[in-house]
Amino acid sequence: MKEIMAVVRMKKTGATKKALVAAGVAGFTAVKVLGRGNLVTDPKAIEECKEKLMSMGMDEFSEAGDTEKMVTSFLDGSRFFPRRLFTILVHDDDVPRIIEAITKANRTEYGIGDGTIFVMPVSDAVRVRTGEAGEAAIW
């Protein structure tokens, strides 16, 4: 018995749910969380990203310098972004299949911020309706 914890983009909630149903897992618990990832230390990558964001330009709508301030705070890594945390209880054999499904549904071309999947051991589970415990309580 394993617990899969997956932090994914808010926008990808629907895609993740669909992928889980396709993988044969219908049950999950989801909660809105705030998260941030590892710091990007490569200054070149940050500079590139900054240029891209700056060129999107909000200057017509906001005070001068506001965009730069916002973009900088966006990239310095200290900011938290809204994410969806899925908790899924699965049999040991299904772990690789489900991880593949979640990864496939959530990967984007941005190359960063797509989330993380954690797999943890669970010692027991009980279905409240019937009282059955262990592996039988999962599906």
Binding site: K2, M5, V31, V33, R36, L39, S78, G115, T116, F118
Partner: protein, 114 residues
Amino acid sequence: MADVCDMLLIRAIVRPEKKDDVLAGLSSAGFNAATMVDVVGRGKQKGIKIGGMVYDEIPKTLILMVITEDAKDKVIGLILSIAKTGKEGTFGDGKIFVSPVDEVYTISKGTAGL
């Protein structure tokens, strides 16, 4: 899949007003990645009694972090020292739970590992 558990999930329940300090402290020590969620809960003091009212759903912030085993002492020490209020600590400062993590996958890279 490694049999040896070398990654740990840290679940820290802290005061909401302390979360920014805790996260800033962790970030400057090199542990930037974290997930947080607002929760309510009570401890073994059974909540707070003010007058005749008992408040047993006290708002706290739950911080989730996955770290490698060798960073455990550092991270826990940091959270303990920052999240404590007053010199001796106070009831309601929170708790830290540590549990093993078998596998970690980063979706954007598509590979295993933190």
